[in-house]
Symmetry: C2
Subunit: 544 residues, 2 copies
């Protein structure tokens, strides 16, 4: 049986849901779906008992040797769904398996065609990311924790802002923080993953389909803008009000599995197990170990998985963590830390909270646009990535809306430079002795001078991969005024000594003595025949 | 049977060995031993076959409910030994167990008396160390990799230097690096743990007692100077010459167990599984996992265990690692990194290689005394520790000898300040926003200004644990000229606002505008009654 409440949700959100089906690709009836798009099997069946708890439903999708078996889920109102993100083009067949007689042994097929979809984002080249089709993906994220719980008008404003903004990843909460307006406001019926009628009465044994229809629509709308969703499953911000941060392990495990069943087929999902994990007082790292492993087991596509820390830092070395999602401001205030994190974790490093541009009374939201931009550059020349946030009067990090800060435009400028850089991403080159440069040894160097005000750069590079006769051009970059000024001369590598090598004429590049300057140096012309000087290939040298 | 070679060793080193027995505490015959001293059971038996491989020998030591079962070892020349470091005073009994009939079922007793021995060093207060008797131990280490393989005259010079130096820990290799003089020199018979007669002929199935007698004597001589030995079991510096870095897993495991059987009863041993681990090309982190677990299993006393990295950084979160022994120079060049490492590992952080004071052609040995001292201070005000090294003409880090640098005296000055500080050790207080201070919130603050040249310090402290009316005194510290100048005024805490609180009269401390200055601020007088302002107790604040 379904509660009157769920029926009411279903009626209320039928239009949105219809939209979702269209948006998410062909429904079960349809036969053609784009590669990495979404195919959905829709089944009708009795709903005796509590299908949110009792249901076992999977479908096996086959094409030649390829086999995927996503879990299905109950969507309320006698409707059951299994979602599939086809990873290759061609003919796929499917068969369902269920403990529910109405749902078992159904079968069908679909035709998957190549389209414009680049596929989900994966780790690539150890410290970087790429879409499944190989297209590099450089995360330039922003933070809009509560945007999915705002009015439709506010959401549209946020989407319009993101369409023009430089951000390609959004960190957002799956469960709202405790704020009275979410339980008392007009959108209360779509705010909570569990069925509830008041702040003291949530039924953690029943999911709320209307909430999921709304969230799925928002995830899809971000996908249409090319934005990855860093979806945060658990959060501490409950102030003891709704019990969402003190649910039992059984409820938590069921929640994680249900989220995976509903969202894993979305191409743009990243799993963030928690925000500020250590502030969820009743969950230990061992609890999160289990929830990570549930995501890993039930997500057939291996979407990215991480967790965001507060004081206690989760061990990102654990095998189910795909990348680092760090909150440690010091790591982007100074040069040289991101390279260390790369060597510790040998995974991509994303500084997902580096303080926000803003005028908040809280000191985590008091950065100038200059300082937030500077921290982005420090992260990038460390071979890492960073995430934006803003807390000016607009409260962007909470509700979204419009951006009022000065950093987004400069972050967009940085993004263009990085995307025009080495395909393999920026890597530290000699990070223990040249802390402010990254690139690709022998080919590309990006120096950043932070708030120093250098007036000259003697053309000297770390020796790695350099050989006599190599030629380089340089561009002077003003990261704040967003200008790129080519240096007229071409520079030529002399005889490499042990560590660093200068231009044959010891030329010096004049710099304007302003802060926030950068220098881009790229190889030009033919590769000379002479063998490269290899030492020091290692980060440090043997000592004895 | 024993080889003629071993007999020769035994004859040659009988005097040293006698010395060792005296030095290490009473032999089996004796009845009384100091708490945390060494008791040794000496047994005679046939040596058919290869007792280095075939022997099973342990002794069970009992006192009431206390039970220890160290492994014994074959010492050549028909002599077998079991060593015990008694952890409590009183009457202990022992019985031996062996697959060797001559050695099985022996028994005896010993009387353990309290003495001046503080016991082995353990982790204390999460990020710090203390002796087993509770006395805090602050590691101020130095590096003398090859000292134990030098002439006796050179060793005595090293010991005389250490007697006057400020260092209480020495990093040293258990196996020498490949250098011709070690295999060709007069001391060749005591240089190698395995029996060998030339550089191409080591028998990895037989240990070399003369080597162990010599190394044990040196470990004991450091113990007599109150110096902990950070003993490095594996190292990459073999240049493909002796095969010591390509031995089989079976040989490596046997070597680790034999080292533990011989050295675990030394009060001053720390286990360092490797130096620059990733340069031992044929050993993976998984290999080191196994060797760590062997040490953990067979060392009855749980001496400290770590491993020292080169490029690839071992996961110090693993449960058998007791502390971090890091080589990452950037981490001590700038403020704010050690606190992050503390939060990542929740173990003591020891920066065991931060580059050396010296004039080496290699850039890891080109620091000024000023810069090495500065890096020590940066480490300590990050709540971590650091290790010294010197490569002036004397080549201290290799052979020991005498010290010629300017940093040791300043490191000794720093050590005195730290040892006079909070018993629980220095901890970051507000490390994401006040990166250059550590101490104990509400009681003790140590600010370090690095190479800045401040002329004033407005008396403002992070609010944590402060309450209105608290009074503080201050000392201006010149870390280079080693002076401590008390500030005449007493400062008084005003009404704490959200983050930081000033002196009631907004007093400012005048500073001399020189580099390498520090400021020590300590609470004086009675504790006021008013409740402390708690926020922000957490490192970061909740954001939503």
């Amino acid at each position: 049986m379904t509660t009157p409440l769920i029926r009411r949700f279903a009626r209320l959100f039928a239009p949105l849901f219809a939209l979702l089906l269209i948006a998410c690709g062909p429904a079960a009836a349809a036969e053609r779906v784009e590669r990495w798009g979404m195919h959905e099997i829709v089944l009708k069946g009795k709903d005796a008992g509590n299908p949110f708890i009792d249901l076992e439903l999977t479908a096996t999708f086959k094409r030649g040797a390829e086999r995927y078996q996503p879990e299905g889920f109950y969507d309320g109102n006698g409707t059951y769904r299994v979602r599939f993100m086809p990873p290759s083009a061609g003919e796929w067949t499917w068969t369902t398996h269920s403990n529910h007689p109405d749902l078992d042994g159904k079968s069908g097929s679909l035709t998957v065609v190549e389209g414009t979809n680049k596929g989900p984002v994966r780790v690539a080249n150890v410290h970087h990311f790429a879409h499944a089709d190989g297209t590099p993906f450089r995360p330039f994220g922003t933070t809009i924790y509560e945007w999915a719980f705002q009015s439709e008008a506010k959401k549209r404003e946020t989407l319009a802002t993101l369409q023009k903004a430089p951000f390609n990843k959004a960190r957002m909460l799956a469960v709202p923080p405790w704020k009275p307006r979410y339980i008392d406001g007009p959108d209360k019926l779509t705010q909570f993953p569990f069925v509830g009628t008041s702040r003291d009465d949530f039924d953690f044994s029943r999911f709320n389909p209307a909430y999921f229809h709304s969230l799925e629509r928002d995830v899809k709308r971000l996908s249409d803008l090319g934005i990855q969703v860093d979806l945060i499953l658990f959060r501490p911000y409950d102030k003891g009000q709704w019990g969402f941060d003190t649910t039992s392990d059984a409820v938590n495990q069921r929640f994680v599995r249900y989220m995976v069943a509903r969202f894993a087929a979305f191409q743009n999902i990243w799993w963030s197990l928690a925000n500020e994990n250590s502030y969820i007082r009743h969950l230990t790292d061992e609890d999160f170990d289990r929830y990570f492993q549930i995501v890993q087991r039930y997500d057939p596509y291996g979407h990215l998985r991480s967790i965001h820390n507060a004081d206690r830092i989760y061990d990102y070395n654990k095998p189910w963590v795909t990348h680092v999602s760090l909150q440690y401001y010091n790591a982007v205030k100074v040069f040289g830390v991101s390279p260390m994190l790369r060597d510790m974790y040998r995974k991509p490093i994303v500084h997902d909270e580096i303080n926000y541009e803003g005028n908040s009374p809280s000191r985590w939201g008091q950065l100038s646009g200059e300082e937030l931009t500077r921290r982005f550059w420090v992260a990038l020349v460390g071979g890492a990535y960073a995430t934006h946030g803003e807390v000016l009067e607009n409260g962007w990090i909470s509700g979204g809306g419009h951006l009022a800060g000065t950093s987004p435009e400069r972050i967009g400028f940085l993004r263009k430079i990085v995307e025009a850089g080495p395909k393999g991403g920026l890597a530290p080159i000699d990070q223990l002795f040249v802390m402010n440069a990254a690139g690709q040894a022998g080919e590309y160097y990006l120096y950043y001078f932070s708030d120093d005000k250098p007036t000259a750069f003697p053309f000297v590079l770390p020796v790695k991969e350099l050989r006599k006769g190599m030629k380089f051009k340089a561009d002077i970059i003003d990261t704040w005024n967003m200008t790129v000024t080519p240096v007229p001369e071409t520079f030529e590598i002399g005889e490499p000594p042990r560590y660093r090598v200068a231009d044959v004429k010891n030329r010096v590049i004049a710099l304007p003595g302003k802060p926030y300057m950068a220098l881009r140096i790229q190889r030009v012309g033919d590769m000379p025949k002479s063998a490269p000087k290899q030492a020091p290939g290692a980060i440090v040298e043997e000592e004895l």
